[in-house]
Structure formats: C-alpha cells, structure tokens
C-alpha cells in the first residue's frame, strides 16, 4: 500500500517528531533540565577550581582549573544525557503515553534512536551551558574541534542509551536511580574528571583502565588541551563499540517488549 519511498518519508517525519517532542520537553521543564547543571557546575568551579585548585598547582602541565573544566563539562554531558532519557522514557512508560509510539508505524530501532538523540540534544545543551560557565573561571582553547564534538557525541549517545535501557528494565521510580548511584557516579568520579590517573599508585592506575569513562573524558580533554591519559585510538574504539553495543541491546529489549508490552 505505502510505497517504500513513502515509507521512508513517513519514518523520517515520525523520527523528527520524536526529536521535536523531546526538545519540547527539555525546554518546557528547563528548571529541571538546564538550570541545575549550571548551578552545580558553578559550585564545582568555585570549590575545586578556585579554592582548592589554587593549592593543587599544575596537573599534566596545565592549571588545575583548565584541567578539570573539560572533565566537568563531560561529567554534566554524561549525567544529563542519561538523566534525560531515563526520566523521559520511564515517564512515558509509567504515564502510558509510550503507547502513542507503540501503536504508530515506527520501527523499534527508530524509537530507540529518537529517545537516544533526545538525550544527546540535552547533553549538548547542558554541555554548552557548562562550557559557558567555565569561561568565567578559566580560558579554554579549542585545539581539535572534531575530537571535542565527536567524543562528546559518542559519550552522550552511549549514556543516553544507558538511560533508555535502565528505564525499560525499571519497574518503579526507585529503580531508575540504581544505575546512576551504583555505577554512573562512581565511574565518573574515578574516571579522571578531577585528577590525572598519572597521579595514582600503580595498581589504581591499572584498575582505572577498565573504566570506560576514563577514555571518554581523556579524548574530550585532548580536544581542548592536547594531552591525554590514554591512547586516543583505543578511546575511540571503546566509545564506538559501546555505542553500537548499547544501541543493539536497547533494540533487542524493545523487540522483546521487555517491561513495556505484556
């Protein structure tokens, strides 16, 4: 009935609509989505950057403030990409309006992609806000814009998908905070946001290499400062594999209807 070309066009419109809806949600509840990261990142910069950072001196050949700025931007990108999808998707599931998408002629992978990119949009909006805040405290040069944007995109996409999967598996509101509390926050704090892993004792340095967030933060920081704690090729390999793996897992769960279809 619908020609393949017509189907592709219909899918594109459907996909765009999911993005418009996610963007609308971010803007509508800006007090929950955009404001808090601006406030917390300001606090981080004041406390760690200005007050403590002055006594720390140089890290990896840079001012402490300059060193942590990319880390803090990336931390907020991670948290907000994750947070956007977990609450948007869980809200849709809990409020039953996910059914609006489930009855529509959209393939599951497109629904996953729509939510994930919604999370990326939030991640980038917040990342921009935090970057602007950081400019009040330090100077950030842009050495490799392509690295900055690609590392932020891949990281944001991976954690947006993490939020999606968590929301699918969660049965109640308590369960949407498991992943951030027990995995996301520890890995972020131990992922070289506030320190260079070269400052660590050998065993901790080795252990840190098992932490994917280390690679993401390092690649992103390299784009600004030109130095990294890890091999960039390895960092990109890890980010791409994580993105593909998470996306596939999310689509498989959707196809099985886990937590959304009886």
């Amino acid at each position: 009935m619908t020609a393949p070309a017509g189907r592709a066009a219909a899918r594109w419109i459907g996909f765009r609509t999911t993005l418009i809806r996610e963007f609308g949600r971010i803007v509508r509840i800006w007090g929950q989505t955009l404001l808090p990261p601006a406030v917390t990142s300001t606090l981080y910069f004041v406390i760690f950057g200005s007050l403590i950072g002055r006594r720390v001196g140089q890290v990896g050949g840079h001012d402490y403030m300059q060193f942590i700025a990319p880390g803090l931007i990336m931390m907020s990108v991670i948290q907000n990409s994750y947070g956007n999808v977990v609450s948007s998707f869980f809200g849709a599931k809990f409020g039953k309006y996910l059914e609006e998408l489930l009855v529509a002629p959209l393939p599951n992978w497109l629904i996953v992609l729509g939510y994930a990119l919604g999370g990326v949009i939030r991640g980038f909006m917040v990342g921009t806000v935090v970057t602007i805040v950081s400019l009040f405290f330090t100077r950030l040069g842009v050495l490799h814009p392509v690295l900055i944007v690609s590392a932020a995109f891949l990281t944001s996409f991976v954690f947006a998908l993490g939020g999606f999967i968590n929301a699918m598996l969660a049965k109640n509101f308590d369960q949407i905070s498991w992943f951030p509390t027990f995995i996301l926050t520890p890995l972020t704090y131990l992922g070289g946001v506030f320190y260079s892993i070269r400052m660590l004792p050998p065993w901790a340095l080795d252990a840190s290499h098992a932490n994917p967030i280390l690679y993401m933060v390092s690649a992103f920081r390299y784009g600004f400062l030109g130095t990294a704690d890890v091999d960039l090729r390895l960092a990109y390999a890890i980010m791409v594999i994580a993105a593909v793996g998470m996306f596939s897992l999310a689509v498989v769960l959707m196809n099985r209807g886990v937590g959304i279809r009886d």
Partner: protein, 313 residues
C-alpha cells in the same frame, strides 16, 4: 476485503491468566461493529493485540489483508485506536498531543496542523487547544483521544469503551460523530457496556465471554434473541413428545419440563389455550434466563444502575 480478521487468537498473560482462548472473528470493511462482553471478558486484550500493545500467544491477525507478523508497519498505519484508559502526556497541550501523534504516523506537520483544527473543532475541543491535557474534564479527554486517533485518517477506528463515564448529551453527540465518519467509509469497532449504544450504532456484533466468542450475529438478530423470552413450564404428567404449539418454539428439557420461547408481543394465553386443548396441565411456570440475557445481566451488574436501566429498556 475484510477490515479485520482474527484466527484462533489466544493470549495467556505471564501471570497465567488465559485472557483469550482461541478467537475467530471477521469484520467487513465499512462495518460498524460492536464487541460486547462483561468485565474481564478479553475485549481490551483483543484490541491490544490488534494494535501491538499486547503480544499474542498464538493465532493470526490481519488488518485489511496485512498480517501483523509480516507487514506490521502497514497494518498499524491502517488503524486508529481510542484506548479504554487515558494514555496521553497529561502535561502536554491538546494541540501538541494530536499534532505529534500525526507526526508519529508520518503526516507532515503543516498537514497535521490543518487536520488538528478540523478534528478539534468537530469534537468541540478547539477552544481548549492550548490547555494542558490534565486540565480537561473526563469527557473532553475521551474526545481528545478520538481526535488523536483520527489524525492519520485511519481506515479502521477501534474504540474501547469510548463513552464510559460520559454524560448522555455528550454521548449522543459522539454517536452522531461516529455515525458520520462511518458513513464516510471508516470501519468502526467499538466495545461498550451500554446495550443501547450498540443497538443505536452497530450493524454487527460479537459477544465475548471468558476469552471466547459466544455469539456473532447481526445486531438485529441479537436483539431478536434478546427480546424472545423462554418460559419453563412444569408439567403435572410426564410426556415423551413435545405438544403441538402453533406459533411457538417448544422443547422438552425432560419429561416434566417444557420450555417455550415467547417473543415480545406474543400472548402467553395462546400457549395456555393450546395446552388446555390437549389436556396438558401446568403446575408452575418460571422465566428461563437465556445465555445472552444472563450475559447482559452480568454486564448490568458490573456497571451499576445507570447501565441497568438502559439494558432493560
């Protein structure tokens, strides 16, 4: 071409409840079809399977010839559904909800905005288009879901209890609207607990109970059955053959029990007169509740007084 075909459809939920035990159903294109049944009969489950909200356990579903196992996207694009319970984002505006839904079905935004105006006006929601959905009354929410279901102009509209909890005036205007779009060619399937509603709107009906279809007929025939009452007569003396009763259908349930079907308007006197002529004495008599009536009585019980009054008229 049939709008909907269900073949041997079954559903067993994870908790072990067998909600559907092998349903066969065909609904013709252009039909106005009622799916009746008491609480828990399996109506919403069946609709859920057709609209991809529930995974079937086994069986076949075809929408305008498109099998949902093979051509799901096309099948979905043919259907508009109004669910039993509100399922929109309560914090979005009326207009946003209907325009976005059209988008999910691939309708370009400028077209969606024009249609939103048409349908929201027809359903008397245009003045409330900027209201947050949460602020609507129950009847308005139902109309919002009808408008939303029509945005991609589906060939098959499925409504799960569209008028539950809606006042009589709004209900009548909804009926008028549904008749209008059915007249324009949209096939409509609805579930309802109001016999009056099905009687007013629908040409064909299926009655589902305990996950099985127990009746599938034209509305007229079903009403005829409903209007025929069966009386159970206890005979003083045992009989082996059914007495002659002109104008009535009679069967012997056992040698002392005669069951006679009497349509509305027929006189019971004629039964007694013919029996007296043959020297048959009757000790007592009672009403036999037929399967269908039994069903409606149960329907009525589950819906309280308002429904009861309607079902009995």
């Amino acid at each position: 071409m049939r709008a909907l075909v269900l073949r041997q459809l079954t559903k067993t939920y994870k908790n072990g409840i067998k909600a559907l035990k092998g349903i066969d159903l065909e609904v013709e294109r252009g039909d106005f079809f009622a799916l009746l049944g008491p609480n828990g009969a399996g109506k919403t489950t069946a609709i859920g399977i057709v609209t991809s909200l529930v995974t079937k356990t086994s069986g076949v579903v075809e929408v305008f010839g498109h099998d949902i196992d093979r051509e799901l996207e096309i099948a979905k694009s043919c259907i508009g559904v109004v669910p039993q319970e509100a399922n929109f984002n309560q914090f979005e505006s009326v207009q946003t909800i209907v325009v976005n839904q059209a988008g999910f079905y691939g309708i370009p935004r400028h077209v969606a905005k024009q249609r939103a105006e048409v349908y929201l006006k027809q359903l008397q929601l245009w003045d409330r288009r900027r209201s947050i959905a949460r602020s609507l009354s129950g009847g308005m929410k139902r109309r919002l879901m009808i408008a939303r279901a029509l945005m991609h102009q589906p060939e098959l509209l499925i409504l799960d209890e569209p008028t539950a909890g809606v006042d009589i005036e709004v209900r009548r205007s909804m009926w008028e609207f549904l008749r209008l779009i059915n007249g324009e060619g949209t096939t409509i399937i609805l579930t309802t607990h109001y016999l009056e509603e099905a009687e007013n709107l629908c040409r064909n009906v299926a009655i589902i109970d305990g996950g099985r279809i127990i009746e599938r007929d034209s509305m007229a025939n079903v009403l005829r059955k409903l209007q025929a009452e069966t009386f159970v007569l206890n005979l003083r003396e045992a009989r082996t053959a059914v007495p002659r009763l002109e104008g009535f259908r009679a069967v012997l349930a056992d040698d002392h029990t005669l069951e006679v079907e009497v349509s509305r308007g027929q006189s019971l006197n004629r039964v007694f007169a013919q029996l007296s002529e043959q020297g048959i004495e009757i000790d007592s008599m009672r009403n036999k509740v037929n399967r269908l009536e039994e069903l409606f009585v149960r329907l009525v019980d589950s819906r309280g007084r308002a429904g009861a009054a309607e079902a009995l008229t």
